[in-house]
């Protein structure tokens, strides 16, 4: 009877008894039989290195707060996928969960709940160290001057007051660039942030609003490099030649491959995200579309192409929180991970499909709530809730 069970589980019959699968749940081990899982590995030799050095995942903790445990779990799964940058889009319009020591009112007035929906200094340290132990960099993004509504309540006068005729309307726009107080605030705030996040790079945002160059000057005095969204480049803002530009728009102002071409032609490094907005869900195996992306499929010299240092899968948080983040991220982000690590010739969908299905089952076995990519089953299904 045990033999039949082994067969049902796909284990070789010869080595079946008293072999049990590594599932330690005990469901298949009757009390009378000692549960002695055996593991095997083929004699193998592998040489490996990544195609791109920057292989990232963006998490948005402003649209919805993500508990620290969720972030740590994500780092674990990133490591399983050889992703090496956590792009932490920590604050935005809806909420400011980052605990600032220099401006505590930012958190107190800007967080959804300043007690429960906050990342304390210790939380941030924990995330950074947890990531470091897995070889993952934490790239923090404090997006300005747009996407800053939540900064306003804690720092009166920071945001531009909108007017209705001659009276303030009560609503606010981006950070106000004409006040000295703004510079003083930014100076102090980014000094704190530069110290809190040890990575050489800071992401300054700059998306969807005309970027002003003063911020870049401020940040460069802290011995940091910076990453910006593509608008900064598109709007022809004067930026340092070591700026990294992140491409996120699929068609505007040009198709993303063309955008990569333009950025690298200007001698700047680029990160690709445009075709990898994993928050944009659709019916069916959309991991295939992510997999088929070829980041270097544009006209350019070898030197230019070397300026594309990698890319990032983005999980924007409008519709995502800890109830649905994990199944929405995995294994779809794994398709991006392979595209950024493996050689460009590794492109066959059928081959990828069968490996990804097995990899997904392995993620389940490790406790990751990765969703299915098609009809089928895993020997150990997810069942912890």
């Amino acid at each position: 009877m045990h033999r039949e069970r082994c067969v049902g589980l796909g284990l070789p019959t010869a080595s079946c008894w008293p072999l049990w699968p590594w599932g330690s749940e005990g469901a298949l081990c009757p009390d009378t039989v000692p549960c002695n899982p055996q593991y095997f590995i083929n004699k193998t030799e592998i040489q490996d290195f990544p195609r791109f050095p920057h292989r990232g995942l963006l998490l948005d903790t402003s649209r919805h707060f993500l508990p620290v445990s969720t972030i740590l779990d994500t780092l674990d799964t990133m490591a399983y996928n050889k992703l090496n940058v956590l792009h932490w889009h920590v604050v935005d319009d809806p909420s400011f969960p980052y605990e600032s020591l220099t401006f505590p009112q930012l958190t107190r007035k800007g967080a959804y709940n300043p007690i429960t929906h906050v990342y304390t200094t210790q939380d941030v340290k924990d995330v950074i160290e947890y990531a470091r132990l897995r070889g993952i960099r934490v790239l923090a993004e404090f997006d300005t001057p747009g996407h800053t509504q939540s900064w306003g309540p804690g720092v009166p006068g920071l945001l531009t007051s909108c007017y209705s005729g001659s009276q303030p309307s009560g609503t606010f726009g981006p950070v106000n660039p004409i006040l000295n107080s703004t510079y003083e605030f930014m100076d102090t705030f980014f000094l704190e942030v530069s110290a809190a996040f040890p990575d050489f790079y800071l992401h300054l945002g700059g998306d969807e609003v005309d970027f002003t160059c003063w911020l870049l000057d401020i940040v460069s005095t802290y011995d940091k490099g910076y990453v910006v969204w593509q608008e900064v480049f598109d709007n022809k803002v004067k930026i340092q030649p070591d700026t990294i530009v992140q491409v996120w728009r699929e068609e505007v102002p040009v198709p993303y491959l063309k955008e990569l071409e333009l950025i690298t032609a200007a001698g700047l490094r680029a990160l690709l995200s445009a075709p990898w907005y994993l928050n944009r869900i659709s019916y069916g195996p959309d991991w295939q579309a992510a997999y088929k992306v070829e980041p270097l499929a544009f006209e350019g010299t070898a030197e230019q192409k070397a300026l594309v240092i990698g890319g990032e899968a983005c999980m924007w948080g409008e519709y995502v929180d800890s109830t649905n983040l994990v199944p929405r991220l995995w294994p779809r982000a794994s398709a991006v991970a392979e595209r950024l690590w493996s050689a460009s010739q590794v492109a066959d969908l059928d081959f990828a499909s069968s490996r990804l299905a097995r990899f997904r089952c392995e993620l389940l076995r490790r406790g990751v709530q990765a969703e299915p990519i098609g009809v089928g089953y895993c020997n150990e299904e997810f069942d912890h809730w």
Binding site: Y112, H117, E208, T323, V375, D383
Partner: protein
């Protein structure tokens, strides 16, 4: 990135306006902060507040009630709802202020007519209730236990904690009953196996949303997890693995868990198509496809030309009829592909002998009618997918037709009801078709009676079902994919047709969603925001 023009401040502005409107408008959208979902038929809230204390509040039975202390449904419900109301707040400290006035000490439940305590819910169950919340004793009256269950859910939605942590409820008066009697969720356990825990959690969430039918699409092409006592080889050979099965104990557990929540379990054994997995354990059941003169090795739908087929189906449905107590069985009948039948010479001979010639629709009808008769002889009624009607199969007037094809579905509803058949609507509610953004709004805006027809025809629409087909769904992602999107369908099927305001629905549904999260259901967010207690925190 910034997908919406309405930013945080715009949303707050809207909410502020809505709050002032709610204060002035009577009834329907009163106190959106309560997040009543689905909205009861009639709600009258008074500003007078009553306080509840976990140590000093009890759910109890009226001694004159037709359902007594031995009523397991009610005893279990009292425990469950006490927990929903107070249990999850244990982590918080006790209230900082003590109110000695206006306590609510008890909710007394009274079942007025036959209690149905040991019965199973049915299409004709009475789910109506009347709830009067007044200090110190509130009263919940219902005709049957099923109404009590619905009323307890509403009562639990009325209780909230004030900023000091005190459990509070408004004096209020609610009468309620569902607009449609059949409000279902379809789960598919063939494309992916769903753990029993997932199914039970789904039943919990359904009860919170007043759904009352679990349509269990239990087997299909890909796998046969249903363990049949009469034909054990069906699951032995047809399930994904020996552990991807539902034993008779599992099935009983699901049925009883559902019963305690006033939910019917409607089994679907779909045929003659969608049956590839049946052939693994039942040789000779499926039609062998032919490649010229020889069998190709592939199989098609169930073979309608053999007597053995009907012997099998007879014995199989005899078991199914005993295992599943509901008065209805769903026999499927959708998407029958005649391609394999076309190649098989025995089928050709059979069709000639019956005078069907080349009309495979007639062969399909022949099969369907025989199976419907088999089910009828088990004294069960049938539900079928719309193809059975579209094919002009001979079906009883009482056979329910489930409309699932999206194109022109109101016209289909008109045709089916004009022919005298009851209808279930699913076409606009295929929740497995995920899209980016707030698609719950599309589900909410559906009008199940928006077709040209007489009053009599419209009365034949019994309700509908949100379907979560399993091609891309299993225990890892089922719950956030179902909820709160299915909640939109739940309100459309329960609440009055005039309950249409999307903004009001948004405000109530966000509260209801956080409540589900608090109760351990991983219901995903509607949009930007937060819950006091996030999931997993």
């Amino acid at each position: 990135m910034q997908q919406r023009a309405l930013g945080l401040w715009g949303a707050l502005g809207t909410l502020a306006t809505l709050a002032t409107l709610a204060a002035r408008a009577p009834g329907a959208s009163a106190a959106p902060d309560l997040g009543l979902w689905p909205l009861p038929r009639s709600v009258r809230l008074s500003p007078r507040l009553l306080r509840l204390s976990p140590e000093d509040f009890a759910l109890g039975l009226d001694p004159a009630s037709k359902a007594g202390p031995s009523c397991v449904i009610l005893q279990e419900a009292f425990r469950r709802y006490y927990d929903y109301i107070f249990g999850y707040y244990q982590r918080r400290r006790g209230p900082a202020r003590f109110y000695t006035d206006s306590p609510l000490l008890q909710l007394v439940v009274s079942v007025v007519h036959d209690s149905e305590c040991d019965a199973f819910p049915s299409l004709s169950s009475d789910e109506s209730y009347a709830l009067t919340v007044k200090g110190p004793v509130a009263v919940l009256k219902a005709n049957q236990v099923w109404g009590v269950l619905r009323g307890l859910e509403t009562f639990s939605q009325l209780v909230y904690q004030d900023p000091y942590g005190t459990f509070t409820i408004n004096e209020s008066s609610i009468t309620d009953s569902p607009r449609f009697p059949h409000r279902g969720i379809l789960i598919d356990t063939s494309r992916h196996y769903l753990s029993i825990k997932t199914i039970l959690k789904t039943l919990d969430a359904m009860a919170m949303n007043k759904f009352n039918v679990l349509h269990w699409h239990i087997v299909d092409d890909q796998s046969f997890p249903y363990q049949s006592v009469t034909f054990p080889q069906l699951s032995n050979k047809g399930s994904y693995t020996p552990s991807h099965v539902y034993t008779p104990t599992d099935v009983r557990e699901v049925i009883e868990y559902a019963r305690l929540r006033g939910i019917r379990v409607l089994p679907e054994f779909d045929s003659p198509g969608h049956t590839e997995s049946w052939g693994k354990g039942q040789k000779g059941l499926l039609t062998p496809c032919y490649d010229g003169e020889r069998p190709s090795g592939a199989f098609g739908p169930i073979n309608p030309a053999l007597n053995s087929t009907y012997d099998f189906m007879s014995r199989f449905f005899s078991e199914v009829s005993k295992v599943f107590p509901d008065e209805f069985i769903h026999m499927g009948g959708d998407e029958v592909d005649p391609e394999c039948w076309e190649t098989n010479p025995d089928i050709e001979k059979f069709m000639r002998s019956r005078g069907f010639y080349k009309d495979f629709k007639k062969l399909e009808s022949f099969y369907i009618e025989k199976v419907l008769n088999i089910i009828a002889s088990q004294r069960k009624k049938s539900i079928v997918w719309q193809e059975v009607f579209d094919n002009e199969d001979k079906i009883q007037p009482s056979t329910i037709v489930q409309v699932w094809k999206d194109k022109d579905y109101p016209e289909e509803q008109a045709r089916v009801t004009a022919a005298g058949h009851p209808v279930l609507l699913s076409a606009p509610w295929y929740l497995d078709y995920i899209t980016y953004g707030e698609d719950w709004r599309t589900y909410y805006k559906v009008d199940p009676l928006r077709f040209s027809g007489s009053q009599e025809q419209k009365q034949r629409v019994l309700g509908g079902e949100a379907c979560l087909w399993g091609e891309y769904v299993d225990s890892t992602n089922l719950t956030p994919r179902l909820w709160p999107r299915a909640s939109a369908v739940g309100e459309r099927l329960w609440s009055d047709e005039k309950v249409k305001s999307i903004n009001d629905a948004y405000n109530r549904l966000t509260v209801h969603r956080c409540r589900m999260v608090r109760r351990g259901i991983a219901a995903q967010p509607l949009y930007v925001g937060h819950c006091e207690q996030e999931y997993k925190m």
